[in-house]
Every structure is written in structure tokens, then in C-alpha cells.
């Protein structure tokens, strides 16, 4: 387990979601071990030993957004409710503890909250996330909370503006220093993907790694596929995009085998997109600004539909990319994305993420996703500035 702890501390640093020196992970088999920042490791160990779970991450996020969300929350509130798909589907809500609630040993109260939720925010400490059966699961839950709080804070800023001392400065620092230019420059793709299995697997693996390395998506949020004759090669459910070796399922187009029961929950959406567009490859990820911008709608006040993420029948537009509603998996996403994605080669799903196509290989799909996210990023800053 020690190697697992080291691995995921490394991943938290590599994806820049946690602050260096402020990360700890605890895991228990027949003995409890905790590693990382000594103070946080103590808290992690004390909390995990009270839970019937295997692992726990405690880390200070590299951005103060979660902290700001607590400060912006009304008196008496005890959780935040981000509207993105990640939260709605897997987290439900994210409880928080204010600084004054954790003056003594925070472990018992943390354990109580983690007894019914996957992640908690603690003011002055950071994000605490539990993994029921693996260290990786604790890392995923940390990433999910980080993603959700990122999205919610930026959404709130757009609707409510800066409210707290230091917020504007922190935001400027985020914008100018934390964010990096997003591009496909310098990456190498096969121009025209052959039908060779090994080549396809190799290319999917490499593209998955690129998406994470370039900060386009977080490790676990997305899936990738390529069509090859009678087969669709697609990344497996719960697969980390930067570790796809051995995690790509070949699925027969005629469903003559169910080997792909472990394929991504978006298999049906990918299949329909291939059928509808004749594309060769599909890239799907959850870039944050696209998620944020997809949830903005001018008509919210007068519209009768409240479950916008799944019920909205309208096709909106973000820089030439259509935005549609649709739940993941066997929800409506597989119905709504295929008809609209062909024209632009990209589509955004409300609160969820981006699908892009490649007609011959991944270069086009990757560049498309970069362009969509860059547009949404710029549009976000433009709108925020306009509001200010």
C-alpha cells in the first residue's frame, strides 16, 4: 500500500490539484499507515481509523476556491451543492466544516460526515476524501470534489461577483499564474489511424495521457474510442485516461459478444456518434470551463424546465459548438449528442463535458477539444469582466 500512497501523492502534485507539502494519505490493511505532511497525516490516520473504509486523502487544494465557497455560504449552511454532473451523480452534495467547528480534534466530526459522504471540505485544512476499498478511490473522490468546487466557485463568481476580501487577488493569481495556456502544439498524433489493433490501442493510450498532461481533463473524467471495421475500441468504465494500458475494450459492432460489459458507460453514445457521423475517433472529457459555460442560460428565469441537465430540449451554442442536455450512460445523452455533433465536430453536454470527433485520427479531436475549452475559457473571462 505504501507504493499506492506514493503514487497518488505524486498524481495530486502532477495534476496540480493539491498544494505541495500539504498532502497526506492514510490507508489501512491490518495496520494503519499514513504518509505525507505530518499534521495532515495525523488527521488522516485518526479519521480513517474511525471508518470502515480503506483509504483517506487529506490535502489543501492548490486553489482557494473551496475555502471561498465556505466563506460565501450563508450562516447555518453546512454543505454546498454544485450543479455539475459529477456532483449530481456521484457526490450529491459536499458537506463542509467551518474553522470554529474544528478547533479541537477534527477526526470524530470528520468521520461522522464521511460516514455518509465521499468528500468533505474543512476550512483551514482542505479537502478530505475517503476511498471505501482503494487508495485510488480516495484520490478519485478528492479529484471529484476539487472539480466540483472549481466549477461551482467560478459559476458563483459569474452570477454574484467578488464578495470577500482577497478574492479578486486570488482570482487574478489563478488566472495569470495557475492557469496555463492550453494547446495541442508539440503533440504527435498518427495522421491516419490504421485498422491495426496494436496501433489503435497505442494511440488511444497516448491520447489519454496527453489529455491529462496538458491539463485538458482530470485523470478520471472522460473516455476515448476508435472505430475499426466491425469493432469499436473504447476505454473501460472507471479508467484513468492517463493509464489506459490494458483498459481498452474491443466491442463488436453487432453486439455478438458482451465482453465490453466493462466498457465506458458512454459506449452507446459513442456507437451512435460513429453511426451518425462516420467519424473514426471520439474524444470525451470534462474540461472545466466548458462545464461551467454549458450551465449558463439566458432563459433560466422565464423557463418552466427546472431539470435543465436532462430535460432541456433546446440546442444552445458556444462559439459554434452545440450545447445539449442529457444524462450520462443510459440517459438521454446518447440521443441528443449524435444528431448535433456532426456539423462542428464537437458538442458540449450540459454540466458534463465535451465530445469531439476525428475523421481520420486523434489530432482533429484533440485540437477540437482544446479549441472548445479555450473558447469557453476566454468567454468566461469576457463575461466576468463585463459583469464587473
Amino acid at each position: 500500500m505504501k507504493d499506492q500512497i506514493e503514487k497518488y501523492i505524486g498524481k495530486l502534485l502532477a495534476d496540480r490539484s493539491a498544494a505541495p507539502g500539504a498532502i497526506a494519505i492514510a490507508a489501512q490493511d491490518d495496520v494503519l499507515i499514513a504518509s505525507g505532511n505530518p499534521e495532515l497525516a495525523k488527521l488522516a490516520g485518526n479519521t480513517l481509523s474511525r471508518l470502515n473504509s480503506l483509504a483517506l486523502v487529506v490535502a489543501r487544494p492548490s486553489l482557494p476556491f473551496a475555502e471561498f465557497l465556505i466563506k460565501r455560504a450563508g450562516k447555518g449552511e453546512s454543505f454546498i451543492l454544485p450543479q455539475d454532473t459529477e456532483t449530481r451523480t456521484f457526490l450529491h452534495d459536499i458537506p463542509f466544516l467551518r474553522r470554529e467547528e474544528v478547533s479541537g480534534d477534527a477526526a470524530p466530526e470528520l468521520a461522522r460526515l464521511l460516514g455518509s459522504r465521499k468528500g468533505v471540505i474543512v476550512e483551514g485544512v482542505g479537502i478530505v476524501a475517503v476511498g471505501a476499498i482503494t487508495v485510488e478511490q480516495a484520490f478519485i473522490n478528492y479529484s471529484s470534489v476539487f472539480h466540483s468546487t472549481f466549477v461551482k466557485y467560478l459559476q458563483d463568481l459569474l452570477s454574484e461577483g467578488f464578495k470577500l476580501p482577497g478574492e479578486r487577488e486570488a482570482f487574478e493569481s489563478f488566472k495569470n499564474e495557475w492557469l496555463r495556456p492550453l494547446s495541442a502544439e508539440g503533440l504527435h498524433f498518427r495522421d491516419s489511424l490504421s485498422l491495426n489493433k496494436e496501433e489503435i490501442l497505442d494511440e488511444i493510450e497516448r491520447v489519454g495521457r496527453y489529455t491529462v498532461e496538458r491539463g485538458l481533463v482530470d485523470s478520471f473524467f472522460g473516455n476515448i474510442s476508435a472505430q475499426a471495421g466491425e469493432l469499436i475500441y473504447i476505454s473501460q468504465t472507471a479508467a484513468s485516461l492517463d493509464e489506459l494500458r490494458g483498459c481498452i475494450d474491443p466491442v463488436p459492432a453487432d453486439n455478438s459478444s458482451t465482453t465490453g460489459i466493462t466498457a465506458s458507460s458512454e459506449l452507446l453514445a459513442h456507437r451512435k456518434i460513429f453511426e451518425e457521423t462516420g467519424a473514426r475517433v471520439i474524444l470525451h472529457g470534462h474540461p472545466k470551463f466548458a462545464v461551467i459555460m454549458s450551465m449558463l442560460c439566458d432563459r433560466k428565469k422565464e423557463c418552466a424546465i427546472k431539470d435543465c441537465w436532462k430535460e432541456c430540449p433546446h440546442v444552445r451554442d458556444l462559439g459554434g459548438t452545440p450545447v445539449v442536455a442529457g444524462e450520462i450512460g443510459a440517459g438521454g445523452l446518447a440521443k441528443r449528442v449524435p444528431p448535433v455533433i456532426g456539423a462542428s465536430g464537437s458538442a458540449i453536454v450540459y454540466g458534463h463535458g465535451v465530445f469531439t470527433l476525428g475523421r481520420t485520427g486523434f489530432a482533429e479531436a484533440f485540437k477540437s477539444m482544446v479549441d472548445v475549452e479555450n473558447f469557453c475559457r476566454e468567454e468566461y473571462f469576457r463575461q466576468l469582466e463585463t459583469k464587473a
Partner: protein, 579 residues
């Protein structure tokens, strides 16, 4: 009280009495229902011989039954297994559980032995024991048909009447209370069937909260490829696993001599759909509808059944497998144990049975004639009797299902730590080792598995007490089911509390077993798995299990459970400290 009715029907077949009794609220809160409640109610009886007339046979529903909580119209049947000698429970769906709750009952507690074959008939507040008449000796289908006017039916077939150690109790819709031979316990009481109907409804304490929790569960079902994916179990039933297990090289073949059967595509999910016109069927109100039936309404076999009548016996003819399944349902035989016992018998004599012989032997087992007399005792006793004890692929006498332990090390550990013997459904590590839910784990590693198995056993003991279906947890978690439970009952339950309840139930079962002489010596896999490799292929090697590493992880498991190095309890007064 919301969720529970607080009532138990106490039936004494010896005196012919039926009496409604209160169940203490604190017991319901501490054990929920289903498996947990049944196990708790066994506290005064667990030392009795399974065929002792005073041995209870308990049917218990859960607090979610009767609401539209997804997959919760189920019950658990609890007693002591004549096959394994362990405490035993089995979860079953259909419509019986829902109607039992509608009759205002959380449980039926049946004890004693009838003077002549009888049927227990429950109709709302009324319950009576009536003569079974001509039904004794009849098959399940005819019995169910004869009693259908009385509501939902659960019945035994000839196998249960004749004391076959792996006889099932069959639900009228084709579901079964299987594996451990509780059909024989029912038969020993001369109880042919139970019928039930009721009109009651189950109240919900907080409807808005319930609706929100239900929506969360359904969203997770939709997000799960295993459940609602186009290749998942809602589409193809559990035979969706056939192709996957073949690809993973862990499909038990020819009595576990190998782990790949070249003809398995003949009985895969798509093949069954094509050949049998499989349509969706399922338990009352279940959104998944994983059961499949033929166009004529004949229940089609599950994954374990197709593999064991298929690969395990070297049979590739789908229609022969379907027929064997139908025959088992009709006779009231457990398909896994029946097929595995035939397979052990086949290897022992040097020839696996062909389809025609399978049919004949199944009938002989149910009626205990010819070779069937020996085979009716299950593979462990049969193999010992034939002087080839090592050919029984079982743990604690319960035949292993269709997941080769050499292909998933958590599964290997889970088989031996299961309180009811070689069962895949206690810790159910296939969920993460193969199906990647909730997250994937390395199937060829023991690392962390002792803790993972322990946690999963606790979780599933809670799930079996709710009583929900294991398949729901390929998508949802105790987070969402805790919300459903809190909304229905008005009592707050979170995942950690549910796991605590699960741990209490698991340890109670283990304590019962240890009190009856079980210990580490019984937590053993068959020797074959430590000495012989499985079938390699597609770049996958299936070496024998590392015995030293296995034992090391088992010792870790005992430490995590708070047990002695022999897997037993240091504290003899353990039960007295529990609610």
C-alpha cells in the same frame, strides 16, 4: 412505525398453530430485516441439527419492501444448512416478499414438524395450516399452479421432500432460495408450500426525501454499464458474463481442471437471446429486470447455471443446458451444486455426463435412486465416498460457482471467509476485480484484499438485510440506500452505520459457526487451486495460487476481524454484548 410492520408470524407445525407476535423495535433497528433479522432470530437455535423439528425456517423481508425502492422487493430465508452445517441465508426476489409485507409481516418463523404434508396459507391477517393433499410428490410447476388462487407461492419439489442436501425452495415466478439445501429443511417439516396474499401498504416517513434518493439511485443505475449498458444485465441477464469470463480466462471448465471453454459462445448472452428469444423478466417493481424468459415464459438459466451445466461438464449445447435448468427448477434442485456435483462425479469416474445422462441423473438425485442416492449428498460427501475427496470443488461443502479463484485473488479469499461456504455473493469481489465497480482492483494481487473483503462482507450483510439486490450495487452505494432507508423509516442511517450493522450480522454468523466447530481448518480452498494452473490465453497467465501468500492474507483478515489466528472468537460471551 414506518418501514417495518413490527410483526412476526410464529408458526408451530407440530401443534398446528399460527400466532402473530411483536418484534422488538430495537431488534429491527439493529438488524434491519432479511438476513440480519433472521440471523438474530436464530440465536437460541443455531446449535440444533438442521433436520431437528425445532430448527426454525425463517422468511424475513426488509423495511424497504413494499415501497418502490429499486430492487428491494426481496426476502431472506434463514436456517441452518444441511449441506454445509453452517448458519445459512439466501436472498430471493419475485413477488412473494412484497405480498408477505402486504400481509403485515416482517417475518415468518416456522418451527416444528407437521404430522402430514401441509401448506401454510397466509391471507392478510389470517394464517392457517392446511393439508397438502395430493401435492406431495408433485413438481414445482404443478404445485404452484394448484395453489395460485391463494396468492404468491413458494414451494419445494421432490428434491426437498426427499431430503436432497442441495434442495431449493422455489418461488412461484422461477426465483429460488438456493444453494444450501433449505428446501430439505422445509421438506423435513413436511411443509410443501407457503402461500401469501395481502392488501397492506408500507408507509414512508418522508416522501420528498424518498423521491430524491430514488432519483439518485436511478441516475447511478443509468451510469452503470453493468446494469443498464447496452451489453449489461438488464439486456442480457447474468449470462452477459459468459463472454467476459471466457476472455478473462476464469470460466471453470471440466471440474475446474481448466478455465476456458472454447464453445462457451454457444450459451453467451447474445446466443441465448438469439436462440431462445429471451425477453425481460424480473422481480416485482425492479427496474433492472435481469431475469430472462423464453417466448413461452420458461425461465432461462443464469450465468452460473449455463457455465456449470456447460463448461464445467464439457457440454456446449445451449438447449440441453436450458433443459437442465428447467428440470432443476421443476425438481427443486440448486443448479450450481447439482451441476458441480455431476462434474466431480464425472471426473471421478473419468467421463463427464452427456446431456441425456444429465437429465437422468438430475431426476435420480431428486428421487434419491441409483447413483442419485450418493449424488444427493453433494460433491464433498460423494467424492469422499468415491475415495477421491480432492475432486469436490467446494468450500465448507458448498460447491464453488462459476468464478475460478485463480483468476481473481479477492474471490479466492472471499470463498473461504464466506460464512455459508463457497459462495460468490458474500463479499462479491467480482464487482471490482472484474466489473470495475465501484473502482477496479488488480485481480492478480492479494494486496489490500483482506481489508477489502472484510468491508464488502459487512456492506453485503447490510444489503441482504435491507433486503436489496446485489446488482443494484454495480451502480448505487450504501450512500443512496441509506437515504432511502432513512426516508422510509424516519430513522437516520448512513453508510457507516449500515456497515456497522453488517459487521454485527457477519460476526454473529461466524460466532454461530465457530460454536458448531468451524475454524481455520474449514477456511480452505480445494487443493487443485494451489497446485494446478488454469488456462492461459490472450496474453493472460493463470498460475496456481501462492499458498503462502494466501495464508498470509487470511491471517490478516482474521486480525482485521478481531479473531484469533485460528479464525475463532477469544471472547465466548460475544453474543451477549450484542442487541
Amino acid at each position: 412505525m414506518f418501514g417495518w410492520t413490527g410483526k412476526l408470524l410464529h408458526v408451530d407445525l407440530t401443534s398446528g398453530t399460527c400466532e402473530r407476535r411483536e418484534i422488538p423495535t430495537e431488534i429491527l433497528h439493529a438488524y434491519l430485516g432479511g438476513r440480519g433479522l433472521g440471523v438474530r432470530l436464530m440465536r437460541e437455535y443455531f446449535r440444533l441439527d438442521p433436520f431437528d423439528p425445532q430448527m426454525p425456517l425463517i422468511f424475513a423481508v426488509g423495511p424497504l419492501c413494499g415501497t418502490n425502492s429499486p430492487t428491494a422487493a426481496r426476502l431472506a430465508c434463514v436456517s441452518r444448512s444441511p449441506l454445509t452445517g453452517t448458519i445459512y441465508d439466501c436472498s430471493a426476489g419475485g413477488r412473494f416478499a412484497w405480498r408477505l409485507k402486504a400481509a403485515g409481516l416482517d417475518a415468518v418463523f416456522i418451527t416444528g414438524k407437521s404430522v402430514k404434508p401441509s401448506v401454510l396459507s397466509i391471507d392478510g391477517d389470517r394464517a392457517e395450516i392446511v393439508a397438502a393433499g395430493e401435492l406431495w410428490g408433485k413438481g414445482v410447476r404443478e404445485t404452484v399452479a394448484a395453489l395460485k388462487e391463494r396468492g404468491s407461492v413458494t414451494a419445494i419439489g421432490p428434491a426437498g421432500e426427499n431430503g436432497v442436501l442441495f434442495a431449493n425452495i422455489m418461488m412461484g415466478e422461477g426465483n429460488s432460495i438456493g444453494r444450501g439445501g433449505l428446501g430439505a429443511v422445509m421438506g423435513a417439516k413436511l411443509l410443501k408450500a407457503i402461500t401469501v396474499q395481502g392488501e397492506g401498504t408500507t408507509g414512508t416517513a418522508d416522501r420528498e426525501r424518498f423521491d430524491a434518493a430514488r432519483a439518485d439511485v436511478m441516475r447511478l443505475f443509468r451510469a452503470s454499464p453493468v446494469i443498464f449498458g447496452e451489453l449489461g444485465i438488464a439486456e442480457y441477464g447474468t449470462p452477459a458474463l459468459v463472454d467476459l469470463m471466457a476472455q478473462r480466462r476464469m470460466a471453470p471448465t471440466e471440474n475446474f481442471k481448466s478455465t476456458f471453454f472454447a464453445q462457451s459462445a454457444n450459451y453467451s448472452g447474445p446466443a441465448i437471446r438469439k436462440e431462445c428469444g429471451a425477453r425481460k423478466e424480473g422481480c416485482y417493481g425492479c427496474p433492472i429486470q435481469c431475469k430472462k424468459a423464453s417466448a413461452k415464459g420458461e425461465p432461462l438459466p443464469e450465468y452460473e447455471t449455463v457455465n456449470h451445466f456447460g463448461a464445467l461438464n464439457g457440454i456446449s449445447d445451449l438447449h440441453a443446458i436450458v433443459k437442465a435448468n428447467t428440470l432443476c427448477n421443476e425438481l427443486g434442485l440448486d443448479t450450481i451444486s447439482a451441476a458441480a456435483t455431476l462434474s466431480a462425479f464425472g471426473e471421478a469416474r473419468g467421463r463427464f455426463p452427456d446431456p441425456a445422462e444429465v437429465d437422468r441423473l438430475l431426476s435420480d438425485i431428486a428421487f434419491r435412486r441409483g447413483d442419485g442416492e450418493l449424488l444427493s449428498l453433494g460433491s464433498r460427501r460423494a467424492a469422499e465416498s468415491l475415495g477421491k475427496a480432492g475432486l469436490s470443488m467446494s468450500v465448507k461443502s458448498l460447491e464453488l460457482p462459476a468464478y475460478d479463484p485463480r483468476g481473481a485473488y479477492g474471490m479466492a479469499l472471499a470463498y473461504v471467509t464466506s460464512n455459508r461456504g463457497g459462495c460468490h455473493l458474500r463479499a462479491y469481489p467480482i464487482s471490482h476485480e472484474i466489473l470495475r465497480k465501484p473502482v477496479p482492483t488488480d485481480r492478480f494481487s492479494f494486496s489490500g484484499k483482506a481489508r477489502i473483503i472484510k468491508i464488502a462482507e459487512d456492506v453485503n450483510a447490510a444489503v441482504d438485510s435491507l433486503v436489496a439486490c446485489k446488482f443494484a450495487f454495480f451502480g448505487a452505494t450504501l450512500e443512496e440506500y441509506g437515504e432511502l432507508l432513512s426516508a422510509v423509516t424516519g430513522v437516520e442511517y448512513g453508510p457507516e452505520q449500515l456497515k456497522e450493522i453488517g459487521e454485527r450480522i457477519y460476526l454473529t454468523e461466524r460466532f454461530y459457526n465457530c460454536a458448531n466447530g468451524f475454524s481455520m481448518k474449514d477456511d480452505l480452498l480445494p487443493e487443485r487451486f494451489y497446485t494446478e494452473p488454469g488456462s492461459a490465453g490472450e496474453g493472460i497467465e493463470i498460475p496456481p495460487l501462492d499458498r503462502g501468500r494466501f495464508q498470509e492474507e487470511l491471517q490478516k483478515y482474521y486480525r482485521i476481524r478481531g479473531l484469533t489466528p485460528d479464525g475463532t472468537f477469544a471472547d465466548a460471551s460475544f453474543l451477549q454484548k450484542l442487541p
